[in-house]
């Protein structure tokens, strides 16, 4: 059985991920997909490269899913996050939650993606239309050593 949180170095099958969460106990399913967007912070973006500390990311991501099970009245949850080079429109992250009722499904889905964004060691390298690329380190002033050029 696939782990509840996984780092994927190749495109993932959303249908298969959803199917894994099907349950006779669940009357609701909510999912979130994060896609690669063509702009950020006023700059035109042509693609992204995600990097992860895979071992730690999978441990921390697994904790987030376990915590979601304890915090919300859900049946099951799973999350997959891509690493590697992604093009515009590519799915970067997927979160799915099955639950008895919709309130818990929506709430847990939102909570999981927020926790993943704040805690899991994954980094985004943005490639810009004007040339160059930069690592995003939110709140890490002094980090902005983009490899421009």
């Amino acid at each position: 059985m696939a782990p509840d949180f996984r780092i994927a170095d190749a495109p993932f099958d959303i249908g298969a991920l959803r199917e894994r969460l099907l349950s006779a106990q669940a009357g609701a399913f909510a999912s979130f997909e994060g896609w690669v967007r063509d702009n950020n912070d006023g700059r035109a973006v042509t693609g992204l490269t995600y990097e992860a500390y895979v071992a730690l990311a999978e441990v921390e991501g697994g904790k987030i899913i376990d915590e979601a099970r304890a915090r919300f009245a859900i049946v099951d949850a799973a999350c997959v996050h891509r690493v590697g080079r992604l093009e515009l429109g590519d799915p970067a992250v997927w979160v799915g939650v099955s639950a008895g009722h919709r309130d818990a499904a929506f709430a847990a889905c939102r909570w999981i993606i927020d926790e993943v964004k704040s805690r899991v060691p994954i980094w985004k390298h943005e490639h810009y239309a004007e040339g160059g690329a930069e690592w995003l380190h939110p709140g890490g002033e002094g980090a902005g050593l983009g490899d421009r050029g």
Partner: protein, 78 residues
């Protein structure tokens, strides 16, 4: 008596390598200060988390011989 340091994202770019083996330091803070001076890391330690042997750790954790240490810059997944 050595440890392995892993670098990610902007720290990897600044160091010019994904990992290196260094002498076992007296503390994690001392190790980051040394590496920051050597590689010119711009990021102050209070912006970083630290992981030892694949788990998040406190900066005051003891550093054993052979440990695998990663300094974790602010994350940006999602």
């Amino acid at each position: 008596m050595s440890v392995t340091v892993l670098y990610f994202a902007s720290l990897r770019d600044a160091a010019g390598m994904a990992s290196e083996i260094v002498d076992r330091p007296a503390s994690l803070s001392q190790l980051y200060a040394q590496l920051r001076a050597r590689h010119g890391f711009a990021m102050a330690p209070d912006k970083l988390r630290v992981a030892v042997d694949g788990a998040f750790s406190g900066w005051d954790a003891t550093v054993d011989d052979g440990a695998e240490i990663a300094f974790i810059p602010p994350v940006s997944g999602g």
